[in-house]
Amino acid sequence: MLKEFKIGNDSYSIPADRHYGRENHMWAMFDTTNGQVLVGIDALGLTALGDLAYVTLQPAGTSVHSGKAFGTLEAAKMTGDLFAPISGTIVSRNDNAVRNPSLVNQDPYAAGWLISILPSDWQNESAQLVSGSDLPVWVETELERYRQQGWID
């Protein structure tokens, strides 16, 4: 399910089994076994951010809203919020990522996940995210923008 996009010597993995926020580069993966959605940052978002120095995450039980903050981060001396791709209630957070944010850079789609959400409106909100056959065009457009900015070769 891994979709690789190659630019020069670098490749960017965008797994095709999840949905992506166009603006915030958060990924969301629905788990049909428990109805929860796992959330993390995609490879393109991490390329723009650089190595994460610090991450904080709201605790389980917190309500989150699509486009609103569920945590904070620092990377390359930039601080800011982490934005939820969908609404719902946080079921769990990845304390390993909080203790060791480099996990997010090293393994963004597995060990570097951030929070698990019980979604309140997955069907409608996921339709606003990028997924499936729309992925290649979106990724190529983003890569071209990154290249123009000089962040990638």
Binding site: A53, A76, M78, S102, R145
Partner: protein, 374 residues
């Protein structure tokens, strides 16, 4: 396009930071105009980065004894001292729609340009460094940070060292040194620089401020209109100052990432390499590379700068060091790159081992805490 220019001097740490955060929030929300603030703090205050642990960054007792206010910036980066000889810059503007992280990175370069141009017009050969500092021949002269407000406002923070009392700074900040001797002071003095030193003049902070304002107008293609905070803004600043920047909960909050220190000494055919690193988790916060080998101080400062806020992963450490080394090879006077890499990697490994020790992890018994500085 018109932007507002606010100049104020001798502000308190809590007011200064509160004003910057409020402006970013309000500009992002569209209720205040984009603003460039060029200001100074009352000498002195100590400001740590957004997520830093104060006890690790500052000599708290010294600060208290000497009535030096301590506070926490909304922006990232390391601990600094601010006073009448350090020009604070706060630029508040709305973030571009539809782009969360990358726009912030873009404006770090864009907003540095006014400062770089200003320094150049003073005769200082300053450059934006990709590790988010402005440097002169590898030596830091301006520190930078950025904060993205929840309202979609962006705050660009910079501190321009018009002058710097290094011995005083070393009494305020915690350093990887066990003691601060004349040798350490001399070394640090060679690794950091300031406008007066580079221009060999007594240029005033106000002159620097005026030149930077003028260059911002050119680089951002804006017209700066001198002004002040509005009554509504002052109300918001006052509220946030009370709620946040005068609150111990904000100032003394702790991060769940432990800071650790590691050191290594390697004897090479061309001299001893003595490396100390301070780390936040797996990230190198700062590195000191000393010893008795011969190399230009600027080249060594460049190496240290490349490691700042850099991943501690061995291959990333090696790549960062190699990039500087290849660029300035001749300045290292045949000190082989491999020894520098080895010394830094060893120091990082020791720092990470101490982290495991503090976590009570499985390898804790294998590490001697006495190895902190080798």
């Amino acid at each position: 396009m018109d932007w507002r220019l606010i100049t104020d001097d001798g502000v308190s740490a809590s007011f200064g930071l509160s004003a910057d955060e409020v402006m970013a929030e309000r500009v992002g929300a569209g209720v205040s105009v984009p603003t460039l603030r060029l200001y100074t703090y009352r000498s002195y205050c100590a400001l740590v980065g957004r997520f830093q642990n104060i006890k690790n960054e500052l000599r708290i007792d010294f600060c208290h004894e000497n009535h030096i206010p301590i506070n926490r910036r909304p922006t990232g980066g390391g601990a600094i001292i601010m006073g009448e000889d350090q020009l604070g810059i706060a630029l508040s503007m709305p973030a571009q729609e539809g782009d969360t992280y990358s726009r912030a990175r873009e404006i770090m370069t864009l907003f540095s340009d006014g400062i770089v141009r200003g320094l150049k017009s003073l005769g200082v050969d300053a450059h934006f460094h990709r590790k988010n500092d402005i440097v002169v021949n590898g030596k830091k002269i301006v520190g930078l940070g950025i904060h993205r407000a929840p309202s979609n406002g962006l705050l660009f923070h910079a501190s321009v060292l018009v002058d710097l009392d290094v011995p005083f700074m070393l009494r305020v900040l915690n350093t990887p040194f066990e003691k601060i001797s004349d040798k350490e002071i001399a070394t640090i003095t060679e690794r950091i620089t300031n406008v007066r030193r580079e221009t060999n003049s007594r240029v005033t902070l106000d002159e620097v401020r005026k030149i930077i304002a003028r260059e911002y107008e050119t680089s951002l293609n804006i017209h700066l209109v001198p002004g002040d905070f509005t009554p509504e803004e002052r109300q918001d600043i006052d509220r946030l100052e009370k709620e946040k920047y005068l609150s111990d909960d904000w100032i003394y909050q702790t991060s769940s990432i432990e800071d650790t220190y590691g050191g290594s000494k390697i004897k090479t055919p061309v001299g001893l390499i003595d490396v100390r690193v301070s780390m936040a988790g797996a990230m190198i916060k700062a590195a000191f590379i000393g010893g008795d080998f011969f190399a230009s101080e600027a080249a060594v400062a460049d190496l240290e700068g490349a490691l700042k806020w850099h991943s501690g992963q061995p291959e990333k450490v090696a790549a960062a060091l190699e990039e500087v080394y290849m660029r300035r090879r001749e300045e290292f006077n045949s000190l082989p790159l491999e020894f520098i890499v080895q010394a830094v990697q060893k120091a990082v490994v020791r720092a990470l081992a101490l982290e495991i020790l503090e976590d009570g992890g499985p390898h804790s018994q294998e590490v001697n805490a006495g190895e902190k500085h080798d």
